[in-house]
Symmetry: C2
């Protein structure tokens, strides 16, 4: 069943019923990752106080950290002026948001005409997941 609370209706869901979501670390301001939510994911995020996304590749709800333990405690939720983008301010368990074992997914920097990895791997991804292909 699709949740139908008024605050959920205010969000401008796209033609796939999704909204882009930016996760920002509250304490540092670092942008950790970018993902998508459907109505159920956003309702679940509010209910749990932890980030729940919609995995477009696996086509199911994805409680971030369900396998890795790298859950995101949600401290604040914001909506933009067009009401079609959500911003989460979170506390990142383990300090690792990225499936590569890095703090943030945005570790490739444009320099000298190419993308270079500039952030360290904090944990070997093979030790994060039972199935390293999942994230």
């Amino acid at each position: 069943m699709i949740p139908a609370q008024p605050w959920l209706k205010k969000v401008q869901w796209d033609e796939h019923g999704l909204v882009p979501v930016i996760a920002q670390e509250a304490a540092t301001g670092d942008i950790l990752m970018f993902a998508w939510m459907n109505r159920e994911a956003l309702a679940k995020t509010v209910e749990l106080g932890e980030a729940v996304y919609w995995s477009r590749s696996r086509k199911k709800l994805w409680h971030k950290g369900e396998e890795s333990g790298h859950v995101q405690k949600v401290l604040e939720i914001r909506l933009d002026c067009d009401e079609d983008v959500v911003l989460l301010k979170v506390e990142q368990a383990g300090g690792i948001a990225c499936h590569t074992g890095r703090h943030s997914c945005f570790f490739q920097k444009f320099e000298d005409g190419d993308w270079n990895s500039v952030e360290p791997v904090l944990q070997d991804p093979d030790t994060i997941y039972t199935n390293p292909k999942k994230k």
Copy 2:
């Protein structure tokens, strides 16, 4: 003509040839806005050192600030692990990124089951644009 540099090819453009872009204020860490780019917009952004987006509603390149003067000087460009999201670290001219006259587009906060505007309007939007419908 579509630019074809190798660094542009590394980006995973979606089925519409677009990539989501997050603009973050470098000095404060504040997330200012979210928009989209096509190949030409990203190439132009690198060329000018100022943010150039693709306006999905107007279906044309949008040099942010071209009307308002609120240009974004790009200090750094990042790409995420899946290579399908771009992060810009910018200096925001006038301190105003949002067409509502606010610092950031993310001024609606989820509180007590609803979205509340919690950031001040710094400039009357009518004084920002010749045509206030544009942004």
